[in-house]
Point group: C2
Chain length 667, copies 2
């Protein structure tokens, strides 16, 4: 069957950014200059023109901006996203007959001496084009008059038939014609593609996780939200901008876990905060020992005054004591003996947790209730959510729920705590999560780090997935940290936080365990595998941390956060480039601001035991330096400066110094 | 807004093959085992199952075949395309609760000695699953009875509560359950994706181009279609299976070109066959000097009896004398002076050619007429068309026209003579062209050949674009052939046809110019550029070729075609692999049949002047050989055999021998 209009001759394809061909939005940041590229072409020799049509989802009227040709039929257009939330864009392209004619005329004029060229006829053809433009411009009568006059000029020139060597077409006339493109046979791309615009913190954030109940300054006392508020100035001074707390809700008593995950708890054991729900309430209540909703509001307010976001831990699961268990039995799975199915991954059992059943006949009610949890905390000023195990809840739920939140609260951010297979992690990101945990913790060799960060910092992944890298979490004490020797342990803790802060614009630590170099595992290494659980884990008990420990690396972390705030280069990921060095224990990489006014080159010693040295082989083009450049590298950790020149330069690092973070300036 | 059914928990993405996300069909060949892969996954730990649904476009009912899991959430399913034409496929996937339960039960049974496991309860849950399956099977009462009995068995086992160590679930029961999947919450991919199934010759063909008017055995006589028919046995004996003729239609006299493209022809000059149309007729008529439609029919019949396809040259353009010019003035562009716009690319003019105007107000009539040209020749038995400059006609026209032809004639093949930018060439292939000319002619260095063939022989390009490589055409005598020294010229002619026949499963030559080593250009090289036009080109005059020339490389070409027919490995492209050799003048590559029963390793000396030698570094895994293999390499050109072993083996070639085409066999 023929198309409705067979004279639409342009093909538009390979549009970027585009996630699953527009099925999901690509992600960008407020204020970004957003570049859209596409292959745009037609048959034959006619010139092509195209424009980008874009709009915020709340508006029906589109704005337009022209595409400029790159090479090989690829085109580029840019616009600035000046509003949070969902945007749409599409592309319209057409044959630009006037532009074709203008260029042909120039070629005819240049060729007159070699071969006969009927210039007057060519001028008359141009006059006809201008008549057509004037007709399209008729609503703007001044422009139409100018165009008609220009057409008359061309015809007069043709009548005079004088020798003509310079084109009579001025840039003013070309600009005037461009105002009235001939869209009669224009091709419009079949769909609008979505973009999601987040606030800056989605791309650049520094997270600090702590257990509120361990935040009392008095050993043995149950910490409160007020204790947390008292710590906010210190956390702010360290340079963090997100303060994340594990669940703060009432904790169930049925099958409560004791210290070190014991199934036979002592009467005064505090239980796991992830066993959510008790007679006092569920996901919208606060554990009385932590304080009141008023205390919570005060904490949010204190945090806001330090430009810190409070991040809540949203764990959609229930203790057997959660009010939903009695009120909504349909939201849980029932077994043939009438009991509710607890969490299990045979043969392991987690009897203190009831998972929610996303195949419930009342899935609509369940979805609404879960959405209501976000809504409740949003209404109390929370804008950042760390979602626990989102990959064990239905993916379509997340896509709906996050979109629903974003409709009214486009500044809400969601961090997916998903450590699972790549497709599932990426699918959560496509479905709306702003940031995601990563495999960083288990990428420990030079080759593994390079491979992984090249995957997640470049398109297509970087268009939808934003890594948030954590050297540790309450669940993950990687074997590399489980070292008795203090100097070695300190070196590895330094190394991993330097990698985290300079490789990824989003990172976080679970403190104070991190800065205090906590490395004791729940079970010592057995064979090749060791437990990744902490000994005396805060998940099951209070801990009192000695923040004045002289071994604390809090000063280094403070310094790293300051470097991050002062250097735009490390506040984004797409600019990451690994440089060559012939030493498997040295990792070298740079990040540059898009205008190259800020360039950071990091060299990390991955060996916590031995000094390492080598010759860095710099890709100078990635640093915007010519081959013969002489430049200053200033170590932002030590303040020392060195003069380097050209591609090859020597570096040496000990386990104690761990890394150079160089800022590069031209001499 | 919530989805209609929120319990559909599976994501299906990354479907392959898929051209522009299903906008265009991927291409395969009749009888191919077609593999469809996709990423298929859900949330949590539940097991997933999926099936491929596929159908020929003429049928509404789909067939189904199960997917099998590969790694990392990728799945694969295969089916055999047993019918030409358009097919559709899509994917349906669901949570397989019974499979999850079966695996969990096995884990529970294995873990009983370590920890308490409530086996009877697990058995009762399984029985409930089987009840549900029985309900779905109720239309098949025998199966339903078996399932109900199996459920009862599980419940009896549970009641007995005896020690149980082996799973009671038999493979027979698993197969029975698999017949009745629970599709209630199955996810179906949003669209059907298209596949186009061609006949074998679309993938494997050997083309011979000749000018019918030069085919007379009598020097100076205008050749006829009968002369061509008389040559068919010889062309068949050389091993060609497509005989392609430049346009055979009446030739215009207005602005007729003389010998060597002269604009001042002699009265008896025959003109260019591409200046189509005269009072005797246009695209559906035959030049009287060539013969009659009956002669044409006889030629088609003779060719068919030798399993040769006649390929017509479809050039959609008109001489000023074409009947369409008077009958359909709306199909042409008119200038302000009332004349019709001839072809020009300022400052060049082609006054003997009127292009068709695809922006005509009567584009529908024009499309129908052009389709009618194909239809006319299809009705006379033609199934192969070489389309001249398709990139100067509207792309949407081709997509419609080829689909329209294919509706009734799915065995029709279209070769695009497009030498233009990559996007346009690929777009023609996506739009329906079965094969395409390539940049092969201008890929002359080892690096360029490797880069280009790796691009066009692998997905995504190989899913829609089939190269047909030509060492020469009547328009293109590459500078490398323009060599006076006979030995050197012969070496380069040998080299290029060996490359063509072994790199690409589709190839063609313009003969007898090729086998007779015709290398004289229209104009000698001026500076760095030389004309690619032949001196005394057949495009403008008759030529008489001395086929008995002792320098003819027809015997080599015959041998190459025989090798191609006898070795399935070289009848396809996706299996091409380049091997390493530290000599820029030696190119080494292999092709293997999918079962590795046929492996061809080709070594070509790209230097027509000097002998070259080197150590081949074989990627043995691409040859299905172990690292310590000893194997025979038999040179199919000379008959000589050598015993090779392992990865490194020595080769040496002179300009005269040019190449080894080794068939590899294990000792």
């Amino acid at each position: 069957m023929k198309p409705t209009e067979g004279r639409k001759r342009i093909v538009i394809e390979e549009i970027q950014p585009s996630v699953n061909d527009g099925r999901y939005p690509a992600k960008r940041i407020l204020g970004d200059l957003i570049e859209i590229t596409a292959a745009i072409f037609g048959d034959g020799h006619d010139h092509v023109a195209a424009r980008l049509l874009y709009r915020h989802a709340s508006q029906r009227k589109t704005q337009a901006t022209p595409f400029a040709a790159l090479t090989n039929d690829l085109w580029s257009a840019t616009f600035t996203a000046d509003r949070l939330g969902l945007w749409y864009f599409t592309i319209e392209a057409w044959i630009d007959h006037f532009d074709t004619w203008t260029h042909d005329l120039a070629k005819r004029l240049a060729a007159q001496t070699d071969s006969a060229q009927d210039i007057p006829l060519a001028l008359r053809i141009g006059a006809n084009h201008l008549d057509a433009v004037a007709l399209r411009a008729k609503a703007k009568s001044a422009d139409a008059r100018k165009l008609t006059a220009a057409a008359a000029d061309l015809r007069r020139l043709a009548d005079q038939n004088l020798a003509l060597y310079d084109s009579p077409i001025t840039t003013d006339l070309i600009a005037l014609v461009a105002k009235y493109p001939d869209l009669g046979f224009a091709t419009k791309y079949s769909t609008e593609l979505p973009l999601w615009i987040d606030r800056e913190r989605a791309r650049f954030s520094s997270w600090y996780e702590l257990f509120p109940r361990s935040s009392s300054l008095n050993p043995g006392h149950h910490g409160t939200l007020r204790d947390v508020a008292a710590r906010v100035p210190e956390i702010s001074a360290m340079g963090f901008d997100v303060l994340y707390m594990p669940p703060i809700h009432p904790i169930g008593t049925a099958f409560r876990k004791g210290r070190n995950n014991s199934t036979t708890p002592e009467p005064n054991d505090v239980g796991s905060p992830w066993a959510i729900g008790a007679p006092e309430g569920g996901h919208t209540a606060i554990l009385p020992a932590l304080g009141t909703l008023a205390d919570f509001d005060a904490l949010v307010h204190t945090a806001q005054s330090h430009n810190i976001d409070i991040a809540l831990d949203i764990a959609f699961q229930c203790s057997p004591d959660h009010p939903w268990v009695a009120a909504h039995p349909a939201w849980f799975s029932h077994r043939p003996d009438g009991t509710i199915q607890y969490a299990e991954n045979p043969p392991k059992k987690y009897q203190d947790i009831y998972p929610l059943n996303f195949e419930s006949s009342d899935w609509r009610g369940l979805w609404d209730a879960l959405f209501g949890v976000f809504k409740f905390w949003i209404d109390r000023g929370v804008r950042v959510f760390r979602v626990d195990n989102p990959h064990t809840k239905a993916l379509p739920f997340w896509e709906w729920c996050i979109a629903e939140v974003h409709k009214t609260t486009p500044d809400a951010l969601f961090l997916a705590e998903a450590f699972t297979r790549p497709h599932v992690m990426y699918s959560l990101a496509k479905g709306g999560f702003s940031q995601s945990y990563t495999y960083f913790t288990w990428r420990n060799t030079k080759a593994d780090l390079i491979e992984y960060f090249e995957e997640i910092c470049n398109p297509p992944v970087s268009d939808f997935f934003r890594p948030n890298v954590w050297p540790n979490t309450p669940d993950i004490l990687h074997a590399q940290f489980q070292i008795d020797d203090l100097a070695q342990r300190r070196s590895i803790f330094q190394q991993r936080v330097i990698l985290a802060t300079t490789l990824s614009s989003n990172y976080g630590i679970y403190g104070p365990a991190y800065e205090l170099l906590e490395g004791r595992p729940a079970k010592p290494a057995a064979g090749k595998t060791s437990s990744e659980e902490y000994l005396d884990s805060e998940k099951y008990q209070l801990r009192h941390w000695n923040r004045d420990d002289p071994n604390s690396i809090a000063p280094l972390i403070t310094q790293l956060n300051r470097i991050r705030h002062e250097n735009p280069a490390v506040q984004r990921n797409e600019n990451l480039h690994f440089h060559t060095i012939a030493n498997d224990n040295l990792l070298v990489y740079s990040k540059s601001s898009s205008d190259y006014t800020n360039i950071i080159l990091t060299v990390v010693n991955l060996d916590p035991i031995n000094p390492q040295s080598g010759i860095v082989d710099l890709a100078l083009d990635k640093l915007n330096l010519p081959w013969d450049a002489t430049f200053i590298v200033e170590d932002l950790l030590t303040g020392a400066s060195y003069t380097w020149s050209g591609q090859y330069n020597y570096v040496a690092l000990t386990p104690a110094t761990t890394a150079h973070i160089f800022r590069i300036t031209r001499t």
